[in-house]
Symmetry: C2
Subunit: 762 residues, 2 copies
């Protein structure tokens, strides 16, 4: 069994020895360098440029401004193209923008012989603006008289969606007598992905076509967006994706590839490189949407959840990017994770503002949903005098749940078991008792949170993936995926899957890690925790076909019927007895070089996935809160995941570690801050408080492995879920420790001290 | 019709603008540089090294000697692997050799941080030898007591083969009364390919695998030979072939890739680059075999050829490379091109010597055969008092000819028509009369030569080729070939073929010019004038499958039966009426992005070719011979080719131009000279007399286009043939002009003056 083993990552040695080649490592000799000239206002219009000083810098090759770029609007979200216009992403920007919507907006670009000349010239570009007051929040942006950021969206409202479950409205349902109710506003902040490798790409022309090598999660989508942005047919564009140093959703946006592609066409097809600095990355790429989540909830004294109402405002920032898909997802998880006996109402708004643009980030709206839903659960439980775990047991999503709108099902249900495992690990019952009556400045508490998460995007959007396999002469194989390794271990699990299906052992599966839209099979890329599930199905389909071709050739060589044969451990064997009949090396060598029947054994197939299933899980946290210092120390933490069968348990554990770390930062320290002008205040990794190893407790992980009948190997989503429940679990542990409910993130010392003071605790 | 059009080469703009990337252009930043330490003797044994001075050079990273390399013998010839041991190439060398067999043999290698350090250190490596007398000719090498160059081949004889046609021996057949006989020795010289781009490669390791980028004609074979040389499984090796600056057969040998691959493994997988200088290329890569061709021939007074005997000695040089395959081919053409009424005997010997190693070069033994056979034809005709054209008409290969050994057939026969076209163009009959009785120091003459040439290597060896096609979203396609573009225009004709078969126009066929053994379809590569024929069949097979998949999807979209549909000019049309029903762009976009049925349309197929056919042709030359100066000036020349249907007439013409130019150099000026020690005397392009544009007359080309029923589009060999008939045609024109028969090449002024003096003409 290749699947289920904790083999070492196929790229482990390369990555730890520095041998792995990333985009910047591959930059051709003699490449020109491009720098973006960025607006120094957050809201306004560029009226003109004075380029004289900039053009005089030695080494400057070309300066292009927002007045020169092609008149094509394009979207940046990394979604599959929709053949239906209504479902296409919002095309709300050009390569460079005259209408400035964020501080650091792309208004011009300099191409120069080297980094220094480019940077110097970019600084010397003089800009004249017409400036408007920056709109920092949905409230400001929706206010009457607010400047309109995009003509296509009057009043700065990108979208509003809502749904209602049950016959009654929330208000009607809440009229029932004797209910306990809450009415609270929860808030989440802007955070950034902080992948170590900032966005970087280089582009040149070849045979009249544009070739872009870039650090992206979605090479095939980048190809399509460049095509839209430049008005060039897709076949004339080639996108190459080497190893990437983290993405987490930010590289599920097509950020600077179109501009890079365009710039190379202006210098006769010479190679132009663009590397976005950390400061630019924090301020001018994407962030996790800040949201205001107004929650009303009503429960009976016995703990039964009767009705809820969510009103969510998502702060989109200057450009649409993934836009309303995020907060729509937020509403959905809010709906799915708990059941309301009578009514659920949800309204979600996505609003343009002038802060950094929100986009995809690990969890895609669900960390915000979980914060609101899980705060609500504990806040209600507290009012009910009920154990929060018991509240969840009573009201959480049930086995066999099917979403009434998308019809996505819980095909394998491990949520309750996850809660049980977490409870036991953390010592829930004893600790809840133990921490019930504390005094003094330092207190301890435990908390929890649960979540559910879809696997891929079906049926909201397209799920399609292809795979190609090639038999080498030595009986090893090449595995070409359209799906992308972005650090999560995809290549390793695909190799394991290919081994499992074909009978060629995983050490002889060479995964081609680079995607090249000219030759790689099509796949939409790494996002939505989809690849192991959706692209995994393509591996199964292709591997089955590949093995058939191998057995067909074996049948020819051995003069035996195909159905008496099988492949095991790199050998063709007698199916029944397992007797070894032929090594794969002999078969492969013969297949290619036979003078009688030469066949190059390869297989390729598309899997159009029309399945989905819920993964779920729980986080349990123990904290020690030093109230005078405002310091929340996580002393114990566990994530328990229901992600179906694990393809590689060690990698799965590592995936959870990464997500938990992200959740810790989200809960305790991270926040991208803006001043009143909309300028980022902490656009660097000194001031932006990403947790380090020093801030991180031992991270515990457990799994509930239940075979999911829809997964290619019984597996389901794991990529994003680990990041979801950590922040609310900490928040609920703090509530348990101190009785103080913190309703916004992050729970940094400054905020905590203010809360404890207000509560009279310090 | 895409086939038959003279479209501009797909790589034309890239190549003339300097945009095309060759191996050296792709060298990664920070690559180490390797230099080979070469023997300063031609025959002997390395006894030891003193590396102290070399190792002291700053920047030297590693020095490896012939005492350190793995103990694997490997072959270098670019042939398909044979599953039968007896047919495998001779494995007669190691990565570095202790037994020195040529001047400049590879005895050690230096790896350093830069070019200068590597070169300096290589010069400082001190070597102790045991030296033997150099063996420069087959005669010397076969003499008793000659030092043995390879233990596996006693007496330095690599191989001897022979055949006999007819009941009688030559001597018996020649006993017939009244025959005119000749008994002559013809000789051809060593010449070198002189591709502009010398051998260059770089190698590094990735995931424990070795990646070699190299200027080669045969990437898949390079992969296999590296595997043999290093004892590493083939799947652990990846070979990439970018554009190459000429090969002509020299890059059908695996020259330095195995050493380059090995060196990178010694420096922790860091990238190591090896660039072979012009001097090294001339002396230490491959040359066209010098041959001694002893011909006896007997004809009746009416011109009927009764019997011939060929005894050929091929001077192999120090290593086997393609070895006996070359002179065996020589014997075959000698057999095929003329018919002997009673007897033909042929004996061929391939002998190791200490001069530069013979290998594959455009024509593969046939230029030598044609020189002997065509000299013989004119020498016999002269004795018979017969017009040489008439002699050829009477005795040449006939329509429907089938080789008695290989059973290769003349499936389409244009030889006679070629002779007729050439005759008319050059004004044969009038000029023969006009030049019959000349006096004075400057005389004019006309001559001719004919040839035939197989198309690919079936049935001697394997002919297999694969192709893959991918439909882009805009309805354009990617064409991936295993076959290689080596300057001959292969990519262009493949694009035309793909267009012809699929209905997607050639401007929308993107050929992937780089071969990568990890992902490119398998193909043995560019040699034997095989690709347009053999690999062309793979394009047809794959294209047919690809179009079927397109029509299947069209049938789904249009809800019409597939067999009522066709693809024309990038549209799906109604088969009968030609009515346009759907654009390829709409189909392609829908196929990928359909929420109902998403399919990534690709196709891949292997064509195992079990056909062969003869191409043929003639060259007619007019010369002006200045006898006191010894100068032969070609005043008019035409090649007429029977190569079946032309895929791209302009490219075909250019191909013939190149071959004719090579033939001019072979005939008049080129010769790699060695001193008595076996040291090359003219290993540079100043002293080695490659003809330049200044030496080249207008080159005329005509074709006889006859559909060959076995060719994918009625086409057959054209790559190598143009180089074959030029030298003997010039020789025969000189004979016509002066009555002097020059029986060895080249006909340079020094030699000509000696001949004219001997004949009393000057």
């Amino acid at each position: 069994m290749a699947v289920g083993k904790s083999i070492i990552r196929v790229d482990a040695c390369e990555k730890v020895t520095g041998g792995a080649q990333y985009t910047a490592d591959l930059e051709p000799k003699g490449a020109l360098v491009a720098k973006v000239v960025r607006s120094t206002i957050a809201n306004g219009v560029v009226k003109g440029f004075d380029l004289e000083a900039a053009l005089a810098v030695p080494g400057v090759v070309k300066i292009v401004t927002c007045f020169d770029v092609p008149d094509y609007q394009f979207p940046t979200a990394g979604h599959p193209w929709s053949v239906e216009t209504a479902h296409q992403d919002i095309a709300d920007r050009k390569l460079l923008n005259t209408r400035v919507r964020v501080y650091g907006d792309d208004i011009a670009a300099v191409v120069a012989e080297d980094e220094i000349a480019a940077a110097r010239a970019a600084r010397l570009v003089m800009v004249e603006y017409e400036e408007y007051p920056p709109l920092l929040t949905p409230e400001e942006a929706l206010a009457e008289g607010a400047a309109q950021l995009h003509d296509e969206k009057p009043g700065n409202l990108i979208a509003h969606s809502g749904f209602k479950l049950g016959e009654l409205s929330y208000e009607e349902a809440a009229e029932e007598e004797g209910l306990v109710v809450i009415d609270k506003k929860y808030g989440t902040q802007s955070v950034q992905h902080c992948h170590i490798e900032t966005p970087v790409s280089f582009a040149y022309m070849e045979k009249g076509r544009i070739v872009v090598t870039t650090s992206t999660q979605i090479p095939h989508i980048v190809r399509r967006v460049i095509s839209q942005a430049l008005g060039v047919p897709m076949g004339m564009i080639r996108v190459i994706k080497p190893y990437i140093g983290g993405g987490f959703g930010n590289k599920q946006d097509v950020l600077y590839e179109p501009l890079n592609a365009y710039l190379c066409t202006l210098v006769g097809g010479r190679c132009v490189k663009m590397e976005i600095s950390r400061e630019e990355t924090l301020a001018c790429t994407r962030v996790r949407h800040a949201m205001d989540l107004h929650v009303k909830a009503a429960a009976r004294k016995d703990g039964t959840l009767v009705a809820r109402k969510l009103t969510a405002y998502s702060n989109q920032g200057g450009y649409a990017s993934h836009a309303h898909a995020i907060v729509a997802n937020t509403s959905n998880e809010f709906k799915q994770i708990y059941h309301d006996e009578k009514a659920l109402e949800a309204d979600a708004y996505t609003v343009y503002t002038n802060i950094a643009t929100g986009g995809a980030m690990r969890g895609y709206g669900i960390p915000q949903a979980a914060f609101a839903a899980e705060c609500m659960a504990d806040d209600l439980a507290l009012q009910l005098g009920m154990d929060p775990l018991e509240f969840r047991r009573r009201n959480c999503m049930q086995d066999g749940y099917e979403d009434p709108h998308t019809h996505v099902k819980f095909n394998s249900y491990g949520l309750r078991e996850c809660m049980e495992k977490g409870r036991e690990f953390i010592g829930w019952d004893e600790k809840r008792r133990e921490y019930a009556n504390q005094t003094g400045p330092v207190r301890r508490g435990i908390g929890m949170a649960i979540f559910c998460y879809k696997t891929g995007v079906y049926p909201i959007s397209l799920e399609t993936a292809s795979c190609r396999m090639v038999l080498n002469q030595d009986g090893s194989m090449q595995l070409m995926m359209g799906a992308t390794e972005i650090g999560q271990g995809a290549d390793t699990v695909f190799a394991q899957m290919a081994a499992q299906v074909t009978g060629i052992t995983e050490d002889r599966v060479n995964v081609i890690s680079t995607q090249d839209t000219d030759s790689s099979p099509f796949d939409t890329g790494a996002y939505a925790s989809r690849q192991t599930y959706v692209s995994g199905k393509a591996v199964v389909k292709t591997g089955t076909l590949f093995k058939e071709k191998i057995l067909d050739y074996a049948s020819y060589m051995l003069k035996r019927s195909m159905d008496t044969l099988d492949v095991k451990e790199n050998c063709v064997v007698e199916r029944e007895s397992g007797e070894v009949l032929l090594s794969m090396e002999e078969l492969a060598t013969t297949a290619i070089y036979s003078l009688d029947r030469s066949v190059h054994i390869t297989a390729e197939a598309t899997s159009h996935c029309k399945d989905n299933t819920f993964a779920s899980g729980a986080c349990f946290v123990e904290v020690e809160v030093d109230m005078p210092l405002g310091k929340v120390k996580v002393t114990n933490i566990i994530n328990v995941h229901d992600s179906g069968v694990l393809i590689n348990p060690k990698l799965a554990e590592a995936q959870v570690h990464g997500g938990m770390s992200m959740g810790l930062g989200y809960g305790l320290s991270e926040q991208l801050l803006f001043d009143a002008k909309g300028r980022p205040l902490n656009d660097n990794l000194l001031d932006y408080k990403l947790p380090t190893a020093m801030d991180t407790p031992d991270l515990h992980v457990e799994f509930v492995e239940i075979n999911d009948p829809t997964g290619p190997f019984g597996n389901k989503a794991l990529g994003e879920p680990p990041a979801i429940p950590v922040a609310p679990a900490i928040r609920n542990a703090v509530l348990n420790a101190t009785g103080v409910a913190v309703d916004s993130l992050p729970m940094d010392p400054q905020k905590m001290v203010a809360h404890f003071k207000a509560a009279g605790l310090i």
